[in-house]
Amino acid sequence: MTATSAQPAAPARPARRSPLAQLTRVELTLFLRERVGPIWGVGFPVLLLVIFGAIPAFRKVLPGSGGLTVLDSYLPILVVISLALLCLISLPLTIVNYRERGVLRRLRTTPAGPLRVLGAQLIVNFGMAIVTLVVLEVVARLAYGVAFPAQLGGWAVTVLFASAALLGMGLFVAAVGPTARASAAIGNLVFYPMMFFGGLWLPIPQMPTLLQHIAHATPLGAAWEAFQQSDLGHWPPPLALITMAAWAVAFGAGAVRFFRWE
């Protein structure tokens, strides 16, 4: 119909590229170019690890922990921080920004549709989380002699469940946040209490009993427990996995229910 398609000289068209793959590639490029995600989601937890590792007190064995040092017990917390930053702050910020700027609306008018860009965002943030976790484990092992998780399968399963719970919450924040600014505020409001119950300031075993119970019911508390058990060579407790799955389903369903493209 147009001059372009009528050109007989057009060389054999390259094989049709997958829109999802192209979107993922572009979203990854933008994620790196935007710098917020790499600095906070990836750099910040690694920096915390380096700082904690430099503190002599963190090398001491934690009493009643089965021989773990303080740093050993903090590594799962750092892993959890990294997941939470990417899923609760970076992901909703990007999606709400896209909604505000009409990016999702424009995609609705194309064959790709806006669902694929959400998929691409989930893939990018999940992928970056995996990269960060591996970097954390490797740096901790090489620089500070922290052992790799003794139960690697259990560790991987925990990563999946924790990511699902946090990505579900992140999508929910994106669904209900009216503006990028508001969703950043909501994300932070959720992030800090969650980090508290994940044991960032006070390790869960040292919390009063009531707080410990609450902590185990939060996604980060459950994730911390599952990571800790994997480090010790055990399978994550089923209750912790069920807790994370419940958060994933509840918030995932809420996100689907409330999500607006415009």
């Binding site: 119909m1 147009t2 057009a10 490029t29 933008l30 170019r33 009409g102 990016v103 064959p111």
Partner: protein, 320 residues
């Protein structure tokens, strides 16, 4: 008088968009109240009206972004809601106020969007045509308003659409960028793309559109060519000139076609019906008077619009 003569002459052959008795309300507000029109293959069809008249809602139903409450819409024989996958392949859309991520580069955006389509256009050629060839490596946020608008048009065309819907295309552009964009739209039409142009800017429609639908308060008040619509409003001509020699008012006011005469300094302004110009010139030349700086104002699309919509006071019709 709701449907212009153009409407009834049209038959189904050659119609790429058919809208029949479209209704859409938001809560208590009726946005679109019985809109019908057809867009023929290869034309530039304007949808004109004030802000809030229901233009954007109408095209959003055509694009399948909104579900109509009542009525039938067919685009290239497809149902915009049911046949979304097929429709989006063939319908290019330029939305009002739709941005891209700040750091996305022009070339990346076009390469990405071209991957969505079965048979995309060569986006490098498209950039050339749009005068953005040297901007392929520029981030979206570094583009000027006119460049963003042209990129938005490029994205609407990158899928090689048969029909393109362009909403408030030149809003916010300076006069030069606006003229360039108009030329561009004509060249797109020359490639065989049918174009639906949504505008509240009468001059744009007069210049570009083959036919326009005037929409007011959710209803179509007329569908016709801009010239035919302007003719309807052509109740009076205003003839203005500086006479080369003095003359008595009665010389012209005695003419049957002349309805009035006023003087402003050296200038004379004569009003009259469609025969007035010829009679005035003939009479003046018979008395060896030359009309200098002659200017004739006739009804235009804007006058037609005001007349057809009852010229109610709220709001400007054309943002100049």
């Amino acid at each position: 008088m709701r449907l212009g003569p153009g409407m009834r002459q049209t038959n189904a052959v050659g119609a790429v968009i058919e809208v029949r008795n479209l209704h859409k309300r938001y809560g208590q507000t009726v946005a679109v109240d019985d809109v019908s029109f057809e867009v023929r293959e290869g034309e530039i069809f304007g949808i004109l009206g004030r802000n809030g008249a229901g233009k954007t809602t109408t095209v959003e139903c055509v694009e399948g972004l909104r579900a109509a409450d009542q009525g039938e819409i067919s685009v290239l024989g497809l149902d915009p809601r049911r046949d979304r996958a097929e429709l989006t392949q063939a319908l290019g859309v330029q939305l009002q106020e739709s941005q891209l991520p700040d750091r996305l580069k022009v070339g990346e955006a076009l390469d990405l969007y071209s991957s969505f389509y079965r048979d995309p256009a060569d986006w490098r050629e498209l950039l050339e045509v749009l005068g953005l060839a040297d901007k392929a490596g520029t981030a979206f946020r570094k583009l000027s308003g006119g460049q963003k608008q042209r990129l938005s048009i490029a994205l609407a065309l990158v899928g090689n659409p048969r029909v393109a819907v362009l909403d408030e295309l030149t809003t916010g552009l300076d006069p030069q960028a606006r003229r360039d964009t108009w030329e561009l739209i004509e060249s797109v039409r020359d490639r065989g793309v049918t174009i639906v142009l949504v505008s509240h800017f009468m001059e744009e429609a007069e210049r570009l559109c083959d036919r326009v639908a005037l929409i007011d308060k959710g209803k179509v008040v007329a569908i016709d060519t801009p010239a035919a619509l302007a003719e309807r409003a052509e109740t009076e001509q205003r003839i203005q000139f500086r006479p080369s020699a003095p003359f008595e008012d009665t010389l012209l006011t005695s003419l049957p076609s002349v309805t009035g005469l006023t003087r402003r300094g050296e200038m004379v302004v004569v009003t009259g019906d469609s025969d007035a110009l010829l009679e005035v010139i003939t009479t003046l030349s018979a008395h060896a008077i030359k009309p200098r700086q002659l200017r004739v104002d006739q009804g235009n699309l804007e006058d037609a619009f005001l007349e057809l919509t009852g010229g109610h006071a709220e709001g400007e019709v054309a943002a100049r």
